[in-house]
């Protein structure tokens, strides 16, 4: 599979912030969401890709070309759209074309005007008179007019109303339809990604947290919910993120970690507010029934489409156990991208109270 973008071991230090060893690849014909909380390093990564910042280490290849040694050729094949307009506000849409088109050999004036028409942009209207959504579309019209193979968007939907956001996402989906174009899409509005992204690269505090398929990303995590007494200290330490409230807790765990927690409970190693002997009777039957975290949950989720409404409870222990273990009281649900980002950015000690 051809990769449009390859980022390997990219790093850059600033006073008080370090982007460390970022590696990911974007295959041709797909949309990748670059996610992370504010200040996590998304824009720095994009600027390093565009050679707008100098990297300390690593390598970036755009369509196989080095982003520094072959900068001009690489940039002729990519377009970047930022969260706000970067054209002179006093220009009209038509003047924007005059100013920029000369830099691109493949610029197609007819296509530019067709796009203006499609996006309902008046060529005589000044950039400053266009709404934020329209300015975004003007930048996209320019990008599409020279057939950019890779489109890099840095938080394009922030500040857009829901209608404009929806339009933008539709445009992006159309852009990759032919399988020849790809999009790297940085955002902290993760709802956009649920709809459009095929791949996710998640950067947290300057480090790569995850890169891979979106479904794989979502399936890798589960949200567990339980009562106030359902969270022993031993398990607490193994949670990725935790939010406690008077009526209980919500936590993010890795799907594979859920199995380990179950195993811990089976072996009676979980000692919470309840007595250790409470768990001793938990036999193998319960353990088998307990296999909800991985396969079954994932299957249920995919069978239901979006999976949002799926809730899986831990096993019917009542026939096997005299007294329940803390994990028996948990409700396990698939996690959304938003929940994963929120929990992982806070960390296990940040209970949000």
């Amino acid at each position: 599979m051809d990769n449009v973008l390859e980022v390997r071991h990219l790093s850059r230090s600033f006073p008080g912030f370090q982007l460390k060893d970022i590696s990911f690849t974007l295959p041709k014909g797909y949309i990748m969401g670059l996610i992370g909380p504010n200040g996590s390093g998304k824009t720095t990564t994009i600027k390093l890709i565009l050679n707008m910042l100098k990297r300390d280490g690593g390598e970036v290849r755009i369509l196989g070309m080095d982003n520094i040694a072959e900068e001009k050729a690489a940039k002729a094949e990519l377009a970047a759209v930022f969260d706000s307009n970067y054209f002179c506000e006093a220009w009209t849409a038509a003047q924007t074309e005059t100013a920029v088109s000369g830099f691109y050999e493949k610029w197609d004036t007819d296509r530019f005007h067709q796009l203006l028409e499609r996006f309902r942009i008046d060529p005589a209207k000044k950039v400053k008179e266009l709404s934020r959504g329209m300015q975004m579309k003007l930048m996209l019209a320019c990008a599409f007019s020279y057939g950019a193979k890779l489109l890099i968007l840095d938080e394009p939907t922030s500040g857009l109303d829901p209608v404009s956001r929806d339009e933008l996402l539709t445009i992006l989906s159309g852009y990759i339809e032919d399988g020849e174009h790809s999009v790297l899409f940085s955002t902290h509005i993760t709802g956009d990604l649920e709809r459009t992204a095929d791949y996710i690269t998640y950067i947290n505090r300057g480090s790569l947290f995850f890169t891979g398929g979106k479904d794989e990303f979502v399936d890798s995590f589960r949200i567990v919910k339980g009562g106030p007494e359902d969270l022993p200290e031993e398990i607490k330490a193994r949670l990725i993120g935790l939010r406690t409230h008077p009526t209980g807790f919500e936590a993010l765990v890795r799907t594979e970690e859920l199995k380990r927690l179950r195993h811990m409970a089976n072996q009676g190693s979980v000692k919470g507010s309840r007595k250790a002997e409470d768990y001793g009777a938990w036999g193998s039957g319960a353990a088998e029934n307990c296999d909800v975290s991985g396969g079954r949950a994932a299957e249920n989720r995919s069978a239901q489409g979006n999976g949002d409404s799926e809730t899986v409870r831990f096993p019917a222990y009542t026939s096997v156990l005299k007294k329940p273990s803390p994990v028996d009281g948990w409700t396990v649900e698939p996690a959304t991208i938003d929940e994963i980002v929120v929990f992982t950015s806070k960390g296990p000690d940040d209970n949000g109270e």
């Binding site: 707008m52 910042l53 940039k75 054209f87 006093a90 100013a99 830099f103």
Partner: protein
């Protein structure tokens, strides 16, 4: 199209919406020429005013956050610098030409006699002063931006005031000055050579700044 020309065209596109302001800057010193009744004084003032406009493209691009556009365009950074210098130099020469014609016309309309050598001397002085104002300003704007480097806008004003203060103190009867003025061709050549060298050094410094600059 050559990359330098493309970059110059992009900068020209930045200035185009402000053509009325530029026309005002170019034509307004005519009034000064009319009052002072001196072509060289008027041209000096003209070049001072025009020198201040060197920051326009920087200010416009900074105001519009266009560094991000420059970062995306498939053009080498040095060509962006060459393009800006080309446009600014061309603007200066064009404005100088227009000024020499309009100011001479105004003086003649006021009944003054304007000799050909006066026009030639004014042209050389004007070009020299404009170069002097611009070559120090541009690297400053590249380094600090139009807002951060606002102090560089005072270079033309300072230069013009120094000219006003120092010029009357020059002994017009000195033999050295007579020797220099006695060879006008050589003087013009030396000035042009000096200007070219100044532009070369200034461009070199600006390219170095831009190459190391992070956007």
């Amino acid at each position: 199209m050559n990359e330098t020309l493309k970059a110059a065209r992009l900068d020209f596109a930045l200035l185009r919406p402000y053509w009325k302001t530029l026309c005002f800057v170019i034509l307004m010193p005519v009034i000064y020429t009319g009052v002072a009744r001196s072509l060289s004084a008027g041209i000096s003032f003209e070049m001072c005013m025009l020198g201040i406009t060197a920051s326009y493209t920087f200010a416009i691009s900074e105001k519009n956050g266009m560094e991000r556009l420059y970062g995306v365009l498939p053009v080498a950074r040095r060509h962006l610098v060459f393009g800006k210098y080309l446009l600014i130099c061309a603007t200066g020469l064009l404005a100088l030409g227009i000024s020499l014609v309009t100011h001479t016309a105004v003086l003649k309309a006021l009944g003054e006699t304007v000799h050909a050598w006066e026009i030639a001397v004014s042209a050389v002085i004007g070009f020299f002063m404009y170069t002097f104002y611009v070559v120090f300003q541009l690297p400053g704007y590249y380094k600090f931006g139009a807002v951060g480097g606002k102090m560089f806008q005072f270079i033309p004003v300072t230069g013009y005031l120094l000219t006003l203060i120092l010029l009357p103190r020059v002994d017009l009867n000195s033999s050295a000055l007579a020797a220099v003025l006695g060879r006008p061709g050589m003087l013009a050549g030396a000035v042009l050579l000096g200007c070219a060298a100044a532009y070369g050094i200034s461009i070199g410094v600006s390219v170095r700044i831009v190459k190391n600059k992070e956007m």
